[in-house]
């Protein structure tokens, strides 16, 4: 494993030629292990109810936004719209409300998603192993759960109330997910929360390394969303520059050659295009981050979780990929009936 000091040294590195060297190494490893394949996915937000108070998030319990969750009919409408654009991998998201979006509601969403998509992932509140197993058996292939920051003190400062305040329950979620048999787990940190990106990255790497050793059959991927300022929250994110983000991506690729790296539309088109060469393996396309955002008559009246920086359509993303000699991959998994190991 790479040392904390080495991570810090690389993140502190400002010399263009050294950064280029890092990028070349990451580029070569990516090409070797993934070729030119880039998987595509889209998020669908089905609820913005949340019972936690996270100071940096637009969905937090005390933020005055219009709360809504999709009915089955509305889910059909949103999902068929997304499927119509060609997307076959769906990421279903909610706020973290155990009451508004209980397991039964999530399973209902999964049943509907199965009619439209070949692979289904969830990004929802952490839960118990038995609940994850129910989701696996219902047809869920992947779960995304981000620790946000591994720095306990900082974690306590920004997660003020609700279940998400429980650091350890969240930290141990990937283990419960793996035990439940889920085949893909996405982990990550929210860049901009902790002052020291290096420490957070090191802790994430240690966590992933532990997961790999204990649950080698899982396909892992990492995400590095950058915090965006949100109106009315009075939360000042730490600045994480493009240079730092790129170095984080390169370092991850070098330390974990086979692990997937996701990049969402939080980042702008230019940065996303560039990052493809350095280790990104999965990107979202034409995303909406508000509940019902794909088919709403007046989408500007909805409250997004964060603002999209890359508005390109699925077709435009595909054209860009082909133009740059990447192979757009719509389906990287074909759902089989999931059955828990005895």
């Amino acid at each position: 494993m790479i040392s904390l000091q080495k991570i810090k040294n690389i993140l502190a590195q400002q010399k263009p030629e050294e950064v280029e060297r890092l990028a070349r190494e990451a580029n070569q490893i990516t090409q070797h292990y993934f070729g030119r394949a880039i998987s595509l996915y889209a998020p669908v937000y089905i609820s913005n109810y949340c019972s936690s108070h996270c100071t940096y998030c637009g969905f937090h319990v005390h933020n005055r936004i219009d709360r809504m969750k999709l009915t089955p009919d509305q889910m059909h409408k949103e999902m068929s719209h997304i499927a119509g654009s060609g997307i076959e991998n769906i990421l279903i998201l909610t706020g973290e409300s155990y009451k508004a979006t209980p397991l039964a509601y999530l399973k209902e969403a999964v049943e509907i998603a199965k009619q439209y998509f070949s692979s289904i992932s969830l990004e929802v509140h952490p839960m118990e192993e038995a609940e994850y197993r129910e989701l696996f058996e219902a047809g869920v292939d992947g779960i995304a759960i981000y620790q946000e920051t591994y720095h306990r003190q900082r974690y306590a400062q920004v997660h003020l109330s609700g279940k998400k305040k429980d650091y350890d329950y969240r930290r141990s979620a990937p283990e419960r997910i793996a035990r439940a048999g889920i085949r893909q787990i996405s982990m990550g940190i929210l860049l901009g929360l902790a002052d020291d990106v290096g420490e957070d990255l090191y802790e994430l790497f240690e966590h992933l390394r532990w997961m790999e050793k204990n649950f080698p059959g899982v396909e892992y991927s990492l995400s590095f969303p950058r915090l965006r300022p949100i109106k009315g929250l009075g939360f000042e994110p730490c600045s994480v520059t493009d240079l730092t983000l790129i170095k984080v991506i390169c370092l991850t690729r070098i330390c974990f050659p086979r692990v997937g790296i996701n990049l969402s539309t939080r980042e702008n088109a230019q940065l996303r295009n560039r990052a493809l060469d350095l280790g990104i393996t999965k990107i979202s396309a034409a995303s909406k981050t508000s509940v019902g955002g794909y088919t709403a008559e007046n989408p500007e009246e909805l409250d997004p979780q964060f603002d999209i920086q890359d508005e390109r359509s699925v077709d435009e993303i595909v054209q860009m990929l082909k133009h740059r000699k990447f192979d757009p991959v719509f389906t990287d998994w074909r759902r089989i009936e999931n059955e828990s190991a005895a």
Binding site: H32, G35, A37, E88, G217, K325, D327, F330, R334, I336
Partner: protein
């Protein structure tokens, strides 16, 4: 195209079907579907592997099957299967999707090294053979496992040369030789072959065929290297049939130990 050789070689026979080209090509990681088609054509490969997870049944233009020339035998692999039951479900799905019943079993429960789980592979072979599939299992070269696979009805045994995608060549050479000596179904060396010379080496020592993917897909000119692999495979086969004299580590005078017996 691969050169035609004037030899008495019998064709490669798998499950009663005969093949004259002993180079098998994997279809993952190509930059474009066009480069894939060109590589199949240039190499003359008659069997290509495709991961079911990558077959885009819904999208005509992106569907990899549409880019495989007619007459080429499709070998669907069970990439993503972590145990025998998942391999069986993937195989059934492949058959139901019109991809035929030739299955390369991959049971892998390690996403870092991608080493095959031999135990799960034996179980999967038993289950798939029982359902009438033509089964070609990818395995770690272990004699006992190879015997069990044959007993379970495997049409070939496919030992890895080294870690998949590593280009390390025949790290497992000595163990593959044992399989070649002892196992009667065709031995197809799969994984780790990164150079045409390594493909030739596998064939020289008596493998029945080789399968290559990454080394072709990631090359600057995939079609050209695919052809080179195919030629090297044929050359290695020709050398094997020629009964090469063994390599000696020292010079060999004619009869230093017993020559005196015949001195006049």
């Amino acid at each position: 195209m691969a050169i035609q050789t004037e030899t008495q070689d019998s064709p490669l026979t798998i499950a009663g079907k005969t093949f004259h080209n002993r180079f098998l090509l994997g279809t993952g990681k190509f930059r474009s579907k066009t480069e894939l088609t060109e590589s199949i054509t240039a190499s003359g490969a008659q069997i290509v592997t495709v991961a079911l997870r990558r077959i885009d049944l819904e999208r005509h233009e992106e569907n990899i099957i549409e880019h495989i020339p007619k007459g080429v035998t499709l070998l669907v692999n069970t990439s993503g299967a972590r145990n025998a039951k998942e391999a069986l479900r993937i195989a059934r799905l492949a058959k139901a999707s019109g991809c035929g019943n030739w299955i390369k079993i991959e049971v892998i429960n390690d996403s870092k090294y991608l080493l095959p789980d031999n135990y799960g592979t034996i179980k999967a072979t038993e289950m798939l053979v029982a359902e009438g599939f033509i089964v070609m299992p990818y395995m770690y070269p272990d004699l006992y496992v190879a015997r069990e696979l044959v007993k379970a009805g495997a049409a070939t045994v496919m030992p890895l040369g080294s870690l998949i995608g590593s280009h390390q060549g025949l790290k497992a050479k000595e163990f593959i030789k044992i399989l070649i000596n002892e196992i009667d179904v065709p031995i197809v060396v799969d994984a780790g072959i990164g150079r045409p010379s390594q493909a030739a080496e596998a064939m020289e020592m008596g493998a029945d065929a080789v399968l290559v993917n990454t080394a072709v897909a990631a090359a600057g000119n995939p079609a050209q290297i695919a052809q080179a692999f195919s030629l090297a495979t044929a050359a290695g086969r020709l050398a094997y049939l020629s009964k090469l004299p063994a390599i000696k580590s020292h010079a060999n005078s004619s009869s230093p130990l017993t020559g005196f017996l015949f001195e006049e």
